[in-house]
């Protein structure tokens, strides 16, 4: 139990720490690298929940592809440290932080109240072999959620075409031609 909880706290600290860097760092490159770190930590968290396959996919898709894309684009933009990284406005700023605080607080309170004894371990489902679990997952994806799965494929195709079309526009949204 101790090793597990130690692992969880390390991973959680890494995740939250990286997330903080993401929203606080003034250089977008650091933001993106911190987000990659957060993704890797989240993969670790998935692994700690025995969702091995999801963890692997998280690494491949998020850390390996999406974030590399972000980093690459940022590097191509060659953005320097931002002088004004945050939006201005005292009132709206107050409202923003207040609403977020309320949301966060309310979620935390909900979690707190919803579990009878907050810090006692909920009875976890029996763990199964990673290969078997992956097979179960495949069963779900290719049988129960087949339609959604196919729809996702169509979505990705549309997105790919859309992204290519967007990036081929010259001169942005207010092009003179």
């Amino acid at each position: 139990m101790t090793a597990d909880s130690l692992l969880f706290f390390i991973l959680a600290a890494m995740t939250v720490g990286s997330a903080l860097v993401v929203i606080l760092a003034s250089n977008p490159i650091f933001c993106s690298l911190a987000l990659a770190m957060a993704m890797i930590s989240v993969a670790g968290i998935f692994a700690s929940l025995n969702a091995w396959f999801v963890a692997g996919v998280q690494l491949i898709v998020y850390a390996g592809a999406v974030m590399v894309l972000f980093v690459m684009v940022l590097m191509l933009f060659d953005l320097k440290d931002e002088v004004r990284a945050f939006s201005r406005g005292l009132v709206s700023g107050f409202f923003k932080i207040a609403s977020v605080a309320v949301i966060g607080g309310v979620i935390a309170a909900a979690v707190w109240m919803s579990t009878e004894t907050i810090f006692s371990t909920a009875p976890a489902a029996p763990t199964v072999n990673a290969t078997v679990a992956t097979k179960q997952l495949a069963d779900l994806l290719f049988k129960k959620y087949l339609f959604s799965f196919e729809a996702m494929g169509a979505l990705l195709l549309i997105i790919a075409i859309g992204a290519v079309a967007l990036s081929r526009i010259e001169g942005g949204t207010h092009a003179d031609k």
């Binding site: 139990m1 101790t2 969880f8 706290f9 959680a12 995740t15 939250v16 997330a19 993401v22 929203i23 987000l35 957060a38 989240v42 968290i45 998935f46 969702a51 396959f53 999801v54 996919v57 998280q58 998020y62 999406v66 972000f70 684009v73 940022l74 933009f77 953005l79 945050f86 939006s87 700023g93 923003k96 977020v100 949301i103 966060g104 979620i107 935390a108 979690v111 907050i118 810090f119 006692s120 371990t121 909920a122 976890a124 489902a125 679990a133 179960q136 779900l140 994806l141 959620y145 799965f149 996702m152 979505l155 990705l156 997105i159 992204a163 290519v164 967007l166 942005g172 949204t173 092009a175």
Partner: protein, 110 residues
Amino acid sequence: MPINDALLNVGLSHYLILSALLFTLGLLGVLLRRNVIVILMSIELMLNAVNITFVAFSRYSPTANMDGQAMVFFVMTIAAAEAAVGLALATTIFKKFREVNIRYFEHLKG
């Protein structure tokens, strides 16, 4: 000792609170940052927070229930799609203004 208990026994609520924390951080990023790409990254953060709850619920459901993990795949697909389109939009904005500030999107208001 509840505190000791909280440190030693990691359960569902730990993951949920971690997820809530990540979600609010992501939301803060969306609300406060001015760089479009950082905003997109904050959205990824929020989506990841949701993924954590999915997997945590799947793990801690009384029966071995993989539906939560299946959902993660859909979220990931959406996230990847969103990143692709978002980055393409950011590139378009960048080409025009040499900057990716969110305020340039105000021109889309029409």
